[in-house]
C-alpha cells in the first residue's frame, strides 16, 4: 500500500463528517423522498467518501460506497423511487461503513464482509435501472462544459484572425477529481497551449487560476494556426487529466449558441477516463455558484494541539498571577503598566482559546435522530423526536462527554417514559409521543433539557421498588422519592429490556454529569411526563473562584456555585436533630463546617465567614475562616492516584507558587453525613 499515513487523520476526520452528513440526509430523505437537494447532497457525500477510500487504498470501503453511489445515481435520475426498504438498505450500508471505518481506526484493517449488502444494492440498481440504462448512457456521454461569454470585441478580433489563417477552437478540460493542485495543473496545460496560439476568453479567469483557485473544469476559446490533433496532443501530454475536448468552431456559431440558450451547450468529449462521467453535469452547474460565495477560510487542527495550547495559556495565566504577586509585594510601580498589558493580552488569549475549544451542541445531537428512529421501530412505539438549540456552544470536553449520559436518558425516555400508542390513546393523549431535547445558554452555564410527555415517574412505584431494595423512603416527599432514581443500583424497569436498564443506572448518568461540574434535576408529573434539566458549565479549565482559609489551609471555591458570603457568628448556628442549620433569607439551610468535614484543626482567633452555595435548587451554608480574595484559577486535575479523594475538584497554583485545593462543593454538601 502507498504510504498514506500522513493523511490518515485527515481521512478519518473527513470520513466521520461525511458519514454524519449521510446519516442526517438519509433521515431527511425518509421524510421528503422527492427532495432533489437532499438526493444531491447524499450523492455528493457518497461520492466524496468513495474517492477518499479509493485514494487511501481501502478497497472494501470504496466498493461499498460505490454500490451506494450507483443506487443513488438511479434515484437521482428518477429511475428508482425512494422507498422505506431502500432507506433501510442505506442505513444498513451506513452502519457497515461506520464499522469499516472503526476497524480501520483501531487496527488499520477493513475486515468487514460486505458482499451480501453489495449484492442487494446491485440488485436494486440492476432491477430498476435496466429499463432505461441506454437512455442514461446517451445523456451522460454528452457532458456539458460551461463556456465563457464572448463579447463583441472578441468577434472582431477573431474574424480578423480567421482571415489570416487562424482556426477558432473551443476547448474544455477537466482535471481529475482527486488530483492535487488542480489550478497548477490547468495552468500547466494553458502554458503549453499558449506556445501555439492565443486565448480569446477563458473560464475561470487567468487571475483566479494564478491565485490557485480551481474547482471545476476549465473552458476556453482559443485561436491557433495548428491542427486540432496538434492541440489535442498538447493537452493530452499532461498527466492527471480526466477528460478534455477540443472542437474546431467559428465565433458566429458560438455566439449564436450563447444567444440561443443563454447557457451551457453540449459538445462531444474525448474521454480519457470514462469512470465518473456522472457527476459532470452536477459539477458544471455548481461551479458558478461556488465561485461567487467568498470562501470561508478554515483549517483543521489536531485536538491535542488545541489542548496543548490551552494548557500553555493556563500556565501563562498562572505565571501572570505570580508576577502580579511579586510586583505587589515589592511595590514595583514600574511593573504596573506592562503587567496590565500582559493581563489584558492573557485575558484575550484565554478567551480566544476558550472559543476555539467551543463546539456546537449539534455535534452531540446529530446522531440522535437516527438512534431515535431505530429505537422507535424496535419498541413499536410512535415517537416524535424534536431538538432545539443545536447551535448552542459548549466546551469540547463537555461535548465529547455528554453524549453518553444523554443517550441513556433518551433511551430511558423512549423505553420507560413514552407509553405504547394504544395505552396513550386510552389515557386521552395523542398516539404519538414527544421527546424534546433542547439546549440554551444561561449566563456562564448551558442548560440542556430533555422532556417527554410519557407516563412520568410514579413515586409509589419507586417507593415500592426502593423498599424492596432496602432503601428507606421514610419521611420523603414525592419529589425526593422521584430523585431516588439517581440512587446507585436503582432501576424501576419491571423487566430489563434490551434498550435501557442494562446495568448502567441513572446514578452513572448523575456521576458523569457531576464530573463535568454539572448538575441534573428531575421534574416529573404522573401521566404528564418527565423533564430532566442538566446544567453544564461553559468551560472546565479556567474558573473564577473565591479563595478562603480554613485553619491554616487555603482552598478555592468555584464562584459559580456561590450565592452569598456573610460574616458568621457562632450563635447563628441552630441545632436541629443533631444537625446544624443556618437561617438564610427566611429558610433554614444545612450548615457545614468545612474544618470538620475535612478534619482540619481549627484556629481559634480567626473571624469566621459563611459562604452560601447553591447546588441545583438547594442552598447550603459553608463555614470557613478567612476570606482571602476572588481569583481566576486554572484547574489542574488531581492525578489518577488521587481519584478516590472525593471532596476536591482539583488543585491550582497560586500567585506565590503555592498549591491550593479546589473544593468540590457538590460532593461536600450532598454526601452522607455519617459522622
Amino acid at each position: 500500500m502507498e504510504d498514506n499515513s500522513a493523511y490518515l487523520d485527515l481521512f478519518f476526520e473527513e470520513t466521520d463528517e461525511n458519514l454524519a452528513i449521510l446519516n442526517q440526509e438519509v433521515l431527511q430523505l425518509e421524510q421528503n423522498p422527492e427532495d432533489k437537494q437532499i438526493i444531491d447532497a447524499i450523492f455528493r457525500a457518497a461520492h466524496t467518501l468513495k474517492g477518499m477510500a479509493a485514494t487511501m487504498g481501502f478497497e472494501t470501503m470504496a466498493e461499498l460506497t460505490h454500490a451506494v453511489e450507483s443506487v443513488f445515481e438511479l434515484v437521482k435520475s428518477d429511475q428508482v423511487k425512494v422507498s422505506s426498504e431502500l432507506i433501510s438498505l442505506f442505513f444498513e450500508s451506513l452502519d457497515l461503513l461506520t464499522e469499516i471505518v472503526e476497524n480501520l481506526r483501531l487496527e488499520n484493517v477493513e475486515a468487514v464482509d460486505i458482499s451480501d449488502l453489495v449484492n442487494r444494492l446491485h440488485q436494486v440498481a440492476n432491477e430498476e435501472g435496466e429499463a432505461s440504462d441506454s437512455a442514461v448512457l446517451n445523456e451522460n456521454s454528452q457532458p456539458k462544459f460551461d463556456f465563457p461569454d464572448l463579447e463583441e470585441a472578441d468577434q472582431l478580433a477573431v474574424q480578423s484572425a480567421e482571415a489570416t489563417g487562424y482556426q477558432f477552437y473551443a476547448i474544455g478540460i477537466r482535471v481529475e477529481e482527486e488530483s492535487m493542485m488542480k489550478a497548477a495543473r490547468a495552468f500547466m496545460i494553458l502554458n503549453r497551449l499558449e506556445q501555439i496560439g492565443d486565448f480569446v476568453q477563458m473560464k475561470p479567469s487567468a487571475d483566479a487560476l494564478e491565485q490557485g483557485e480551481l474547482d471545476g473544469p476549465v473552458t476556453l476559446y482559443f485561436l491557433s494556426k495548428e491542427e486540432k490533433e496538434e492541440i489535442e496532443k498538447h493537452v493530452e501530454d499532461s498527466s492527471e487529466i480526466e477528460e478534455f475536448m477540443v472542437t474546431a468552431t467559428t465565433i458566429e456559431e458560438e455566439m449564436k449558441q450563447q444567444d440561443d440558450t443563454q447557457a451551457k451547450q453540449s459538445v462531444p468529449v474525448n474521454t480519457i477516463d470514462s469512470e465518473s462521467l456522472k457527476e459532470v453535469n452536477e459539477s458544471v452547474q455548481k461551479t458558478p455558484e461556488r465561485k461567487k460565495a467568498p470562501a470561508r477560510q478554515t483549517i483543521r487542527v489536531d485536538l491535542t494541539r488545541l489542548d496543548q495550547f490551552m494548557n500553555l495559556v493556563s500556565e501563562l495565566v498562572i505565571h501572570r498571577t505570580r508576577l502580579e504577586d511579586v510586583s505587589e509585594k515589592n511595590q514595583l510601580q514600574e511593573l504596573n503598566e506592562p503587567l496590565t498589558q500582559v493581563g489584558r493580552i492573557t485575558t484575550e488569549l484565554q478567551e480566544l482559546v476558550l472559543q476555539l475549544r467551543m463546539q456546537p451542541f449539534n455535534v452531540v445531537v446529530q446522531r440522535f435522530p437516527r438512534m431515535m428512529r431505530d429505537l422507535t421501530n424496535e419498541l413499536g412505539k410512535e415517537i416524535d423526536f424534536l431538538t432545539e438549540g443545536e447551535d448552542t456552544e459548549l466546551d469540547r470536553t463537555v461535548v465529547s462527554e455528554i453524549g453518553e449520559p444523554l443517550i441513556h436518558l433518551l433511551r430511558n425516555a423512549a423505553d420507560h417514559g413514552i407509553e405504547m400508542p394504544d395505552e396513550r390513546e386510552q389515557a386521552g393523549k395523542p398516539r404519538t409521543g414527544k421527546i424534546k431535547l433542547s439546549a440554551y445558554p444561561e449566563g456562564n452555564r448551558v442548560i440542556v433539557t430533555l422532556a417527554d410527555d410519557g407516563k412520568g415517574l410514579n413515586p409509589r412505584l419507586i417507593e415500592q421498588s426502593a423498599n424492596k431494595k432496602g432503601i428507606s423512603t421514610e419521611g420523603m416527599s414525592d419529589e425526593q422519592i422521584q430523585n431516588l432514581i439517581f440512587h446507585p443500583g436503582f432501576s424501576t424497569a419491571a423487566s430489563v429490556t434490551g434498550i435501557s436498564g442494562r446495568g448502567v443506572g441513572m446514578d452513572a448518568v448523575k456521576e458523569k454529569i457531576s464530573s463535568l461540574n454539572g448538575t441534573i434535576e428531575t421534574f416529573s408529573e404522573v401521566g404528564k411526563g418527565t423533564t430532566f434539566r442538566i446544567t453544564l458549565p461553559l468551560t472546565l479549565s479556567i474558573i473564577q473562584s473565591l479563595l478562603v482559609k480554613v485553619g491554616t489551609e487555603t482552598f478555592a471555591i468555584p464562584q459559580a456555585v456561590i450565592d452569598k458570603v456573610n460574616r458568621f457568628e457562632e450563635e447563628e448556628a441552630i441545632s436541629v436533630h443533631q444537625k446544624e442549620v443556618y437561617k438564610y433569607e427566611g429558610h433554614t439551610i444545612p450548615l457545614i463546617r468545612v474544618s470538620k468535614a475535612l478534619d482540619i484543626a481549627e484556629v481559634d482567633e480567626s473571624t469566621q465567614h459563611v459562604v452560601v452555595v447553591l447546588i441545583g435548587e438547594n442552598r447550603y451554608a459553608l463555614v470557613v475562616d478567612e476570606l482571602i480574595h476572588q481569583k481566576e484559577i486554572v484547574i489542574k486535575k488531581l492525578g489518577r492516584e488521587l481519584n478516590e479523594i472525593s471532596n476536591f475538584l482539583g488543585a491550582t497554583i497560586l500567585g506565590d507558587g503555592s498549591i491550593s485545593l479546589i473544593l468540590d462543593v457538590t460532593s461536600l454538601c450532598t454526601r452522607k453525613k455519617d459522622r
Binding site: 502507498e2 492535487m180 493542485m181 497548477a184 495552468f187 500547466m188 490557485g212 493530452e236 501530454d237 492527471e240
Partner: protein, 120 residues
C-alpha cells in the same frame, strides 16, 4: 531501451521510494542528487532522458536548478515533485519550463503516468 532518469530529492527516503517505483516500471535510474547544485552537475555528467526534481531543497532549490538545466539544455525534460501547498512554486516551475509535476506523497500509478506522458 529503458529511459534514464535522474532523481533529485534531499530526502534519502524519497529517493529510495522513487528509485524503487521507477525500477519496477522499466526505468533506469541514471543518477541521484540531493540538492540543486548536485542536480546541475549530475545532469551534465549523466545526460538523463528525464529528471524528477524536488522543489524544496537546501543550497539550491528545484526551481533554480530547473532554470540552470534548461539554460544548458532547452530540450531537457524535467518533472517537478512538489509537496502540497506549493502551488505558487509549481507555477513558477512551469513558467520556467517544467514538463509536468507530481504531488507528494507519491502514488506509483501517478508517477509512472506522468513519466510516460512526459517522455512520449
Amino acid at each position: 531501451m529503458s529511459k534514464r532518469v535522474l532523481i533529485v530529492d534531499d530526502a534519502a527516503f524519497m529517493r529510495i521510494k522513487l528509485k524503487d517505483i521507477l525500477e519496477k516500471n522499466g526505468y533506469e535510474v541514471a543518477g541521484e542528487a540531493q540538492n540543486g547544485n548536485e542536480a546541475v552537475e549530475k545532469y551534465k555528467e549523466v545526460q538523463p532522458d528525464i529528471v524528477t526534481m524536488d522543489i524544496t531543497m537546501p543550497e539550491k532549490d528545484g526551481v533554480e536548478a530547473l532554470k540552470e538545466i534548461k539554460a544548458m539544455d532547452s530540450s531537457a525534460i524535467v518533472l517537478m515533485c512538489s509537496a502540497m501547498g506549493q502551488q505558487t512554486m509549481v507555477m513558477d516551475a512551469i513558467r520556467a519550463g517544467a514538463m509536468d509535476f507530481i504531488v507528494k506523497p507519491f502514488d506509483t500509478e501517478r508517477v509512472i503516468k506522468a513519466l510516460d506522458k512526459a517522455i512520449s
